[in-house]
């Protein structure tokens, strides 16, 4: 049982940014990943999130090799992996209210959402007046809380956080960390934390892997 990238090389239009990277996230553990700007950390997250096809190597999810990406992967597998991106603004539909942003993954799989959305909104600390607003009317920190709720809505087995707390203030960062840690304690969720912040990784992660610039 783990989410693993085996010898993954990946890039964009012939420009390779990841070279033969192997990383494993076990259930319940928090793995830190650090590396300089442009070293391919976000690309690795995209590969693990089944959003980007590696040029070489493959991803296994709980022992099953996943050979496709995006919608070609059965939704029962895709929902096992949650992602929290660096920029919540780029990762949310500006036409939706925060409630709808959180509910979207449940709607997509035709599941009831009202109760679950209310529960998660409360856990990430979004107040009622914020939930009815659209992204342009909330701050990055508030929007990232909505994105965290969205990432947890399917109770993923693995959560990938790509610089997810970089743009948050200290208190919101500590809050997001507490929500994620709490979720881990409840049901052994594996977490990958990509961050530049050594202090944060030292405090939060169980172990830290490094990726070097090629």
């Amino acid at each position: 049982m783990s989410l693993t990238a085996h010898g993954v090389s990946a890039g964009y239009r012939g420009q390779q940014v990841l070279h033969d990277v192997t990383i494993t996230i076990e259930p319940g553990e928090t793995v830190g990943l650090r590396g300089p700007s442009g070293s391919g950390k976000s690309t690795l997250v995209r590969v693990l999130a089944l959003l980007h096809r590696p040029d070489a190597g493959h991803v296994t999810l709980d022992g099953t090799q996943i050979d496709d990406i995006r919608h070609r992967v059965p939704s029962s597998r895709r929902t096992q992996i949650g992602v929290l991106f660096q920029s919540p603004r780029a990762a949310s539909d500006p036409r939706l209210t925060l409630t709808d942003i959180i509910a979207e993954p449940l709607r997509a799989t035709r599941q009831p959402h009202e109760q679950r959305v209310a529960e998660l909104a409360d856990r990430v600390g979004l107040t009622a007046d914020l939930l009815g607003r659209r992204p342009h009317a909330v701050s990055d920190g508030q929007l990232q809380r909505a994105c965290l709720a969205r990432a947890l809505v399917h109770r993923p087995a693995y959560l990938l956080c790509d610089e997810a707390t970089t743009m948050l203030d200290a208190s919101t960062q500590a809050h997001v960390a507490a929500v994620i840690t709490d979720e881990q304690h409840q049901r052994e969720m594996g977490v990958l934390l990509v961050s530049h912040d050594t202090t944060l990784l030292t405090r939060w992660a169980d172990r830290v892997a490094s990726i070097t610039q090629q």
């Binding site: 948050l168 203030d169 530049h196 202090t199 405090r203």
Partner: protein, 302 residues
């Protein structure tokens, strides 16, 4: 006091369909030449709105009252024409938040930088040097914004703001997405500007960044400044309970979130906005506190 920027009783309200958002309330501060003022606070406390208010970049549903004097120009009342021709980019530079949306997608970094330099009557060949100053490689200048990583785009917008060499630079989260060496590099660039007599208003949620370079720190909470003191004393002995709690949330301190939520900016309490979350609150806190430490029960008294 040779104040370059003097903000007096600045308030900003946004009219929404069914509510009024009080984003900045009765804000007073000044920035001297050579001073680096860091404005810190939780997300949504009004830091960025303050920056946009000074530059006249607020959307149409915003109402701004009060004054903000840059030398002799009142930025709040001087009108869009004056702001566009004399202030923005010339007297006040802005490093905008979220560089991904601030860059023209169809121009390379070099074209953007050269254009900015030309418009300000400087030599376009300075592009390489200015990019290097912001920590960006010359080769990366030939990329289009979508080909840049978040950190590279951040350094490019910083370079663009530096290109006009403005006397006041407002840097709105200039270190987002940068790794520690580059954060330190960017902060040192800002610090150097202040040491050369220019002023910088650094808006950041990164307390470590503020501690590293700021002369003075203004802590914002729920649209008000709650503590405005020299940086060293803020970080060593925070006076406002909110500042103390915010510092305690740092991963190298208690790593503990402040309990409760900030008040909704649509319904701010009449008294101290922090009182509902504050362990020291009592009846006195129903009246709004004032002063450089806006608290009736400060942790330290100077």
């Amino acid at each position: 006091m040779n104040a370059l920027l003097r903000v007096e009783d600045l308030s900003v309200r946004f009219r929404l369909r069914d509510a009024v958002v009080q984003a900045v309330t009765d804000l007073n501060l000044s920035v001297r030449r050579g001073e680096l003022l860091a404005v810190v606070g939780e997300s949504g406390c009004g830091k960025s709105v303050l920056a946009h208010a000074l530059l006249g970049l607020l959307p149409a549903n915003a109402t701004t009252t009060g004054h903000a004097f840059l030398d002799d120009i009142d930025l709040v009342h001087c009108g869009e024409k004056k702001l566009a021709r004399e202030v923005r980019g010339r007297r006040i530079g802005l490093v905008p938040q979220s560089p991904a949306t601030a860059l023209t997608p169809v121009r390379t970094g070099r074209t953007l930088l050269a254009e900015t330099l030309r418009e300000h009557g400087r030599d376009a060949a300075l592009a390489t040097a200015i990019a290097a100053d912001a920590g960006l490689d010359d080769t990366d200048l030939d990329r289009y914004p979508f080909q840049l990583s978040g950190g590279m785009a951040q350094r490019l917008v910083t370079a663009l703001a530096l290109a006009s060499d403005p006397p006041l630079l407002i840097a709105d989260e200039p270190t987002t997405g940068l790794d520690r060496p580059l954060v330190d590099h960017t902060l040192d660039v800002l610090r150097r500007r202040c040491d050369n007599g220019d002023a910088v208003l650094l808006i950041t949620h990164d307390l470590a960044a503020a501690e590293r370079v700021a002369d003075t720190v203004a802590v914002m909470y729920a649209s008000r400044i709650v503590e405005h003191r020299p940086a060293a004393s803020v970080f060593k002995t925070a006076a406002h309970p909110y500042t103390a709690a915010l510092l305690d949330a740092l991963p190298d301190r208690a790593f503990q979130a402040i309990p409760g939520h900030p008040p909704m900016l649509t319904a701010l309490p009449a008294g101290c906005a922090y009182a509902p979350r504050c362990p020291r609150a009592d009846q006195q806190c129903a009246t709004p506190p004032t002063g450089p430490v806006a608290c009736h029960h400060p942790l330290v008294t100077s």
